[in-house]
């Protein structure tokens, strides 16, 4: 109840905008933020500013390659968490600082484009970009990151590790006591990413709610970031992680042999990082060059080989590409559709409805004490100031 009260306050759109201004004052530079700068090495420097939600280990190969191909561009990359990025773009809507905005928070990114804060880019590269991975010529999905499960290898000796959502559900139903407190997933109430996956899961199957109930019964742990989940798994606190971002999980699992990653066979949500060029971008020509670079065959090849982000380009095959994932899983691949359905995700009432339903399902067995303490101050105490409208938090990859 307290939750919904708070959401009700944050409900109306104009309130959201006012909050954006406050956020700039209070969250001037989040802790996880980093700035990378590449100075131009030849000719007259062409400035270019990027906002992104990609930490240096993932983004550096990309930017290095861009710098090699375009040494005349003086590139500045701001690594922000996705909520800060969204608020900043909204705050700078009249005179944007960023030329290109890259974010995995698909609904939020879509909302920006729908509002007309993006500008169309038409070139041979963008024209050939697959339709399912773009919206108009303004929003381009340039990565292909499945939402995965991760489990500890030693689990396999006792229980059959789940290979699909259905198996996870039956596992929880069969061995609920053994797995009590050993399963971890996103807290959709506190994480935008978790909320996005919950809503997509719920759209795909009504049995999702059985899964949430089962998770609630086994007192699943709730985290707000993939890296926290991975760390808990690695530490042995959790045995199974559900709905982790594949790109981070893959990188982490590669260096942690005790963990194994599973792309669910029945269906796998796929997240795409969306790139857009700002309307009234200060350096539109350079921004277009960057976008052309980002979607080019060679860059996509690089994404497939040197990062875990996954390539979308239809001409590239092999590990780490959309094509290979599709080949392996076929129709089970469910990329989050880049379309106005995403706007529904952001609807405040919708969010409240879903979260209440989720809460109900999760708490169906053991009512939370928080439900009894129907006092607003206490709920603000457990929820930080922003989660009501928060975008997914920045996802830190594992430490190298």
């Amino acid at each position: 109840m307290s939750m919904s009260r708070l959401f009700a306050i944050a409900g109306a759109g104009h309130v959201v905008r006012r909050w954006v201004v406050i956020s700039l004052l209070t969250f001037a530079m989040p802790a996880g933020a980093a700035t990378l700068h590449y100075a131009a090495t030849t000719g007259a420097p062409q400035p270019l500013t990027l906002y992104g939600v990609l930490d240096p280990p993932q983004v550096e190969p990309l930017l290095d390659a861009f710098h090699r191909q375009h040494p005349d561009v003086a590139l500045t990359y701001y690594n922000l968490d996705s909520m800060t990025l969204h608020q900043r773009v909204l705050a700078e809507r009249e005179s944007p600082r960023a030329d290109v905005v890259l974010s995995p928070a698909m609904p939020w990114q879509y909302q920006l484009a729908n509002e007309g804060l993006s500008s169309p880019v038409t070139s041979a590269t963008t024209a050939n970009w697959p339709r399912w991975a773009r919206w108009r010529h303004e929003l381009f999905g340039f990565t292909f990151e499945p939402i995965v499960m991760v489990y500890r290898r030693d689990l396999a000796s006792r229980l059959a590790p789940p290979k699909s959502h259905a198996e996870l559900l039956s596992l929880l139903e069969a061995h609920g006591h053994e797995l009590d407190g050993r399963v971890v997933t996103y807290d959709p109430r506190r994480s935008g990413a978790g909320y996005t996956y919950a809503i997509e899961d719920a759209r795909i199957s009504a049995r999702y709610w059985d899964l949430v109930e089962a998770l609630g019964r086994s007192h699943a742990a709730l985290e707000t970031t993939t890296s926290a989940m991975l760390k808990g798994l690695s530490d042995g606190r959790y045995w199974i992680g559900y709905n982790l971002i594949g790109s981070y999980a893959q990188a982490y699992v590669e260096t942690h042999p005790e963990l194994a990653m599973v792309v669910p066979r029945d269906y796998a949500l796929v997240l795409q990082r969306l790139a857009l060029v700002s309307r009234n971008a200060p350096h539109p020509a350079t921004a277009r060059r960057f976008l052309d670079f980002l979607l080019s065959r060679s860059t996509q090849h690089l994404l497939a080989k040197q990062t875990t982000l996954g390539a979308v380009h239809p001409g590239i095959e092999g590990p780490g590409t959309a094509a290979s994932l599709r080949e392996r899983l076929g129709d089970a691949i469910r990329p989050v559709e880049i379309g106005p359905g995403l706007l529904a995700t952001l609807d405040t009432l919708k969010r409240q409805t879903l979260l209440e339903q989720w809460q109900q399902a999760f708490d169906s067995d053991s009512p939370l004490p928080a439900d009894d303490t129907d006092v607003v101050p206490s709920s603000t105490a457990i929820t930080p100031r922003f989660p009501a409208v928060s975008a997914p938090s920045s996802e830190e990859p594992s430490a190298p």
Binding site: S4, A8, G11, A12, G13, H14, Q111, N114, E115, G116, W135, R136, R203, E337, G339, P340, G341, L342, L343, A344, T345, L346, D347, T348, L349, K350, T353
Partner: protein, 511 residues
């Protein structure tokens, strides 16, 4: 030719006229069709896409309920997805409560005045600098406890409907252009086809031997057949004119050759004599012949002059009584010597007509001379008042009814008697034609079948209806240059009845 003259309608070719009258309305028609197609395609696209707004807002409205003491809605993503077509429109939605307060949505959208038909109203508005099509659905909660009103407002950008409208318009455009091209082709072809007989006629006329006057023989449509008939009539008239001219020349040559041959023979005979008395006699005879021939030549000359359509001598008011008196006075003695009684009958008042003095005098002289030559013993010149009329009566043998038209011809050879040139009545006829005088010949004394005599009347038209009379006799004047036809008496009779009635009564003219 001046510029306005060139553009004057009557100078415009038939083909151009047809083109203008067919293609201009066609162009206007095509323009109207295009305009109509433009608006129709816009409307059709709007209708099609408004259905989407309709469906989306209904689907949203179904989810609106009362929950937690407020309007509540579980937004179905499919409702928004159906608003985005292939054109990936931007989509906006908002829910407003009964007081017009924003409940939820991704943009504040304006309301629209309620429409007459149905719950939905549509409008194209500008929201945040973006042109969008807005649909507003007015609805109310359906439940046991509450029935609050609310408004679902959905909007989409216009790319999709514009694309559809353009596609629809393009297909109409192609159709209209095809129709227009076909229509133009048909118009061009049919105009060419319709005007083809004209070209044939022109070619037929151009290819004719310039000396031939044979009638045109070629199949033509009705409208042109009339033209062909008119042309053929003109040709026929020209044929008659030429025939008359040729005969006139032939007659004139013959008339001149006979006295000249006589002169030559008389001179030759005289040259064989040695007696000057014979020479004298021959010279006397020759002198007579030369005088007569000179008179003949003079008459030929005056006939030619009278028949010249180019020369129209000025007319002046003229007193018929004075004229008749003068002519009779001047020639009385001469005819008296030949045993002819010449008299004049005049009305009390002056009779004035508009005429050329010397021509009327000549006509009168010719008539008197003619009567005297053909055996009349009594010749009366009469002037009448109303209508003005000049007539010459005699008591000669007269002219049979059937001969009266023919005697008006020059050199008509009825009977080779008398001593005239054969030109007298022809000259009178020409003068009558030149003056639009009604010439008629009739028996002077119908009660004397043996010697009915001849009365030649010159009936003047009243001055008051001069102009209409002139017009009325136009067809008769066409033949003015031709003293008398002989090839087609039937047609001539027609024109005679229309213009002048020329009848003559004589047993022939002198040689």
């Amino acid at each position: 030719m001046t510029l306005p003259g060139r553009w004057h309608l009557s100078h415009l070719s038939l083909y151009r006229r047809l083109m203008i009258w067919l293609l201009c309305p066609l162009a206007v028609l095509v323009a109207i069709m295009l305009l109509q197609a433009w608006f129709a395609s816009r409307e059709a696209a709007d209708r099609a896409f408004d259905r989407l707004l309709d469906a989306a807002s209904l689907s949203i409205a179904e989810q609106v309920r009362w929950q937690q003491n407020r309007l509540w809605m579980d937004l179905p993503p499919s409702a928004l997805e159906m608003l985005a077509t292939d054109a990936s429109e931007r989509v906006f939605y908002a829910l407003y409560d009964a007081h017009g307060d924003f409940v939820t949505g991704n943009r504040s959208l304006p309301s629209l005045p309620a429409s007459d038909s149905g719950q939905m109203s549509y409008g194209t508005v500008t929201s945040d600098g973006m042109a969008v099509r807005l649909g507003v659905l007015r609805s109310r909660l359906e439940g046991w406890d509450r029935s609050d009103r609310f408004e679902v407002r959905v909007a989409q950008t216009l790319e999709g409907r514009e694309a559809l409208a353009n596609r629809l318009f393009l297909s109409s455009l192609i159709n209209i252009v095809i129709i227009a091209v076909l229509a133009v082709a048909v118009v061009l072809l049919s105009a060419r086809f319709a005007l083809e007989p004209l070209t044939r006629l022109r070619r037929a006329i151009r290819q004719r031997n310039p000396r031939t006057l044979a009638p045109l023989e070629l199949p033509l449509p009705r409208e042109l057949a009339e033209l062909r008939r008119a042309l053929n009539e003109l040709l026929a008239r020209m044929r008659r004119v030429r025939a008359n001219q040729e005969r006139f020349i032939g007659d004139a040559s013959h008339q001149l050759r006979t006295p000249l041959a006589g002169l030559s023979a008389r001179a030759e005979l005289a040259l064989r004599q040695t007696d000057p008395a014979d020479w004298h006699a021959a010279l006397t005879t020759m002198h007579d012949t030369v005088t007569k021939t000179a008179r003949l030549a003079g008459q030929l000359l005056s006939l030619t002059r009278l028949n010249n359509p180019e020369a129209t001598p000025a007319r002046a008011p003229l007193s018929l009584s004075a004229l008749a008196q003068r002519v009779v006075r001047e020639s009385y003695t001469r005819y008296h010597r030949r045993g002819v009684d010449l008299g004049v009958e005049l009305p009390v008042d002056e009779v004035t007509v508009s005429a050329t003095d010397w021509q009327l005098e000549e006509a009168l002289n010719n008539l008197i001379e003619n009567a005297a030559n053909y055996g009349a013993t009594q010749v009366t010149v009469r002037v009448d008042m109303a209508p003005p009329r000049l007539s010459v009566e005699d008591d000669g043998p007269g002219i049979p009814e059937s001969q009266r038209l023919l005697v008006l011809r020059p050199f008509h050879r009825g009977e080779e008697t008398g001593s005239g040139t054969g030109l007298g009545l022809a000259i009178v006829d020409s003068i009558a034609r030149a003056h639009d005088i009604h010439l008629s010949l009739r028996d002077a004394r119908p009660d004397h079948p043996a010697r009915p005599g001849l009365c030649v009347e010159l009936g003047f038209l009243d001055d008051s209806n001069w102009h209409t009379a002139t017009l009325g006799t136009a067809s008769a004047r066409d033949e003015a240059e031709c003293p008398e036809p002989d090839t087609e008496p039937a047609e001539d009779a027609q024109s005679t009845s229309a213009g002048a009635t020329r009848r003559g009564g004589n047993d022939g003219q002198e040689t």
